[in-house]
Symmetry: C2
Subunit: 395 residues, 2 copies
Amino acid sequence: MIQAAIMGFGTVGSGVAEVLDKNAAVIARRAGEPIELKYILDLRDFPDSPYADKVIHQFETIESDPSVRLVAECMGGVGAARNFVRRCLAAGKHVVTSNKELVAAHGQELLELAREHHVSFLFEASVGGGIPILRPLTDDLGGNVITDICGILNGTTNYILTKMSREGAAFDAVLRQAQQMGYAEANPAADIDGHDACRKLCILADLAYGRAVLPEQVPTAGITSVTAEDMAFAAAAGLHIKLIARAKQLPDGRVWCCVSPHLLPGEHLLASVDGVFNAVLVHGNAVDDVLFYGRGAGKLATASAVVGDLIDCARHLDRHKDIGWAAGDGSYLAPVDALPQRWYIRTAGAPLSGCTVLPAAVPGQSACLTPPMPRAAALELPGSAPALSIFPVLE
Amino acid sequence: MIQAAIMGFGTVGSGVAEVLDKNAAVIARRAGEPIELKYILDLRDFPDSPYADKVIHQFETIESDPSVRLVAECMGGVGAARNFVRRCLAAGKHVVTSNKELVAAHGQELLELAREHHVSFLFEASVGGGIPILRPLTDDLGGNVITDICGILNGTTNYILTKMSREGAAFDAVLRQAQQMGYAEANPAADIDGHDACRKLCILADLAYGRAVLPEQVPTAGITSVTAEDMAFAAAAGLHIKLIARAKQLPDGRVWCCVSPHLLPGEHLLASVDGVFNAVLVHGNAVDDVLFYGRGAGKLATASAVVGDLIDCARHLDRHKDIGWAAGDGSYLAPVDALPQRWYIRTAGAPLSGCTVLPAAVPGQSACLTPPMPRAAALELPGSAPALSIFPVLE
């Protein structure tokens, strides 16, 4: 019997408690022995919860109880979460988390601390919710040089873009609807401005390339600039618009990262990933393309990944799982213009010269695809009018 | 520096040598130290190979060399391969393999032997080629009760069905063409009769449900009975025909397995998996649906999975990776009629009564979809003529 604690009893934390309870038999078989939930740390009380008797309010109860070997951090944020995770690791407890903000900003520091104290710090749930992606990337695909990672990593924005595409609706209207249905937060900035996708991309790049890539180093654009007109031009040309987070190793070894709306041809593997679903397309120099697809968020899907990490820790109680990446100054990162791309450009009036013109879709406007070139060059193409929209094309 | 040996220098074995060589730097980073290829066992000589100096002909050289800690079995078959794997495990060497026939038939015995000798026996490459699926299933999704596994697990048959669908060609003609292009073996029985897909399904079911499922216990039909007429009816109705290998846990806990051509609606996640690609759709009671997609065969893709397993062994040299399943008499397997399904039935003449009639596609014939029922009942539906084809529908 291995004792575990959950920190934070919100959506993910309550999902972890539920999965540990409901699937106790299969978890015990996988872990080698039962995992028992001893404490749930939260500021609130939950008198109606079946786990009410496990709720505690003092972090020190967990920290000072040597029987607790496993801790699932499901609080979110980088304040108390970071402090508590540090103290749990220092107390010799294995820690797993779903907190992408924490891992993207402080993962390297926390992995170092885990190494010092000979415990594991795992975070499969921080990228792609329930989709297995971090362990496959580092373990199954560990024999590959990873040359490209393209992901649809944020369900809220993918839901909004899918609705805009299907209904021809404007961004603001769909966002309001998504908020009413609970698919978007009251303050949606982290999602719609691309920060959530950027954090997840950083974690993927950290693991794939072994050096820290920090969110502030990644050029990031969200979906607020995607209009119903862009959707109309894309649809008329058989193209899809998706928020793509991409990390690519250039031939010179530098790593190129970007989060932006992209135009995708209809036959692209990511083009048909719709609604709240997430997908990650990984290209390795041995395995070629591999796609991972599933629910990128949600109570039980995210809990599935947290519990998978708890089982991994339980099977390796006496050792440290040696994942991690080097700290870095970003000198190995390539600027966004180091990768020539084709660009979708929408303008008022006639199309730009030297480009492939898309079928007419909006009166008085035109759209085209440029040849491969840096963004700055695309914006200087001779033409009738300034760009109303400009997005890269994912080939 | 960890010494490794490859047994069998055919397509997969030579791919493993190439990946170990070309990706040595990233492999050393993942494994914690370099993996050096010391021996390649084969009956033949390869004077023109860059690895010619490593080729040996005596298995005993590997068996008796204590410096060899890792062995990749890439010979195929269940004769010498089984013998050599047993002897390697008994000699305290970790063994990885791409040999699905060996694992499906003798996996439980070999895992027992590995446990006795405190080494690992891993076989990620045996299912889905380079696609990470076994480790994600047991590790990442280890907190789930796996309720359904549906896979397109054989690239040859998927290539043939895709060509038949796109070109309206007959099975025999496409098979000959696939043989000429090297996508099908001179003796294609293991592929086209469904045995290869069945072996892979057994391995997935063994791991998901923890009890041995043997190939001879799984009702298996190949694709030789799929005709151009079936393709025509399917296309007219927006349906796809795929060889699906499926394992499902029924509500009473029994496991239901089957390999058969299935009809899939166009929007099904597996419907657009075309050509030589493979995909596995897993449903867990926490994670919901997860899809894994990629190249199910090929030299470097398969080698990618073999090398991933070698790295896993290298990171755990001093311990046994505790995967496995119990031996079994098959008493927990449900007969095929325990799962009522809808059936596609093609007949000469008028459609069967009580069924959904598909659009006309072949003069003098009709096709329909039955309500959910056992196969035996579907074959007894009142109608104009005996069934020319009958396949289940994957919902």
